[in-house]
Symmetry: C2
Subunit: 193 residues, 2 copies
């Protein structure tokens, strides 16, 4: 296979990149940004070699334990469970949470054959029962799979004597009711406080 075709094929493995955009990206890199292609190649190799999982919270890190887990200012009695590092970053950006995290790096998805073992739930259960954690805040996504994951986690963690809470469902701040979907409004009514 030609070097160009091999590059297009490698780009097609990326999520969300179809054959046309793979060809477009390859053309752009070789015609207009060979420096960018080299930088990307280096970044890929560096990340593959250096990035591993935090022994405590499971997020990506280059150390044994990540900076968040090592931060002495964080409240060690609260553990927030999220699906991905991007979700963790979203919670961090609120500035209103000072506890620790556990990053599932996925969600339960029986249809895709992703079960409890695939996303390492045993490691979460071990982490949550370290004796310091008293409350687990489940912040998986409010999708069908995220909700199913939240349900399984809640049952297992309550059985281990932990207080389990879930982010409140409701109407997003700044939105107008007539543009909010019915399910969200219905949940917000049930969860009114």
């Amino acid at each position: 296979m030609s070097a160009f075709d091999a590059l297009v094929e490698a780009l097609r493995r990326l999520p969300g990149v179809g054959p046309k955009s793979a060809a477009r990206i390859a053309f752009h890199l070789l015609q207009h940004d060979r420096e960018g292609a080299h930088v990307l190649a280096q970044a890929l190799e560096r990340a593959v070699a250096a990035v591993r999982h935090c022994r405590r919270c499971n997020t990506f890190t280059e150390q044994e334990v990540c900076a968040t887990c090592l931060d002495p200012e964080r409240d060690r009695t609260q553990l927030c469970v999220v699906e991905t590092p991007a979700d963790q970053a979203a919670v961090e950006r609120t500035g209103s949470y000072r506890g620790l995290y556990f990053v599932l790096m996925g969600r339960l998805s029986p249809l895709d054959g992703i079960g409890p073992r695939d996303i390492g739930l045993e490691r979460l259960y071990a982490r949550a029962t370290d004796g310091e954690v008293s409350e687990v805040i489940i912040a998986t996504n409010f999708t069908a799979e995220g909700e199913a994951t939240a349900h399984v986690l809640a049952e297992a963690l309550k059985a281990r004597g932990l207080t389990v809470t879930r982010l409140a469902r409701g109407v997003p701040i700044g939105s107008e009711l007539e543009y909010v979907d019915l399910g969200t409004i219905a949940h917000a009514l049930v969860d009114r406080r």
Copy 2:
């Protein structure tokens, strides 16, 4: 910068990849497809090192002259001018053209500061006046920039005594060749004027 953040930043340089999809791609590669990340890094470095431009038609190749230009079966009196290798591939897929090509690797775009020198029009003029070419078929895209490029090329090539034709307007106006169905391109080749 962390290896993960550096990877996200390198991915953001790719055309059509915003911050969210860069983060999504980086997560996917490190969590689910480290082999794919390594394959992509190798493909990038190989392409940057090996891919250059055909001395005759200007397309990407790893040789001095590409296989199409060396093919003794092709009609050397016809030269089809396209913007990109993807456009050339679209014309090839019709199976109704047996001449040679010149690949501009771009188009004139005064608003973006892309002039005749940037897309090497002098090389096209030298190629078209080699004594063998009698007809130049202009197959730039039917966009504003592609049409402007076609106009400039037609004037310059006619002034050099060449017969210049343009793909017929069977190709929908405003569309890019690589997204047009084969039958339309085939008809447009037959109806070229």
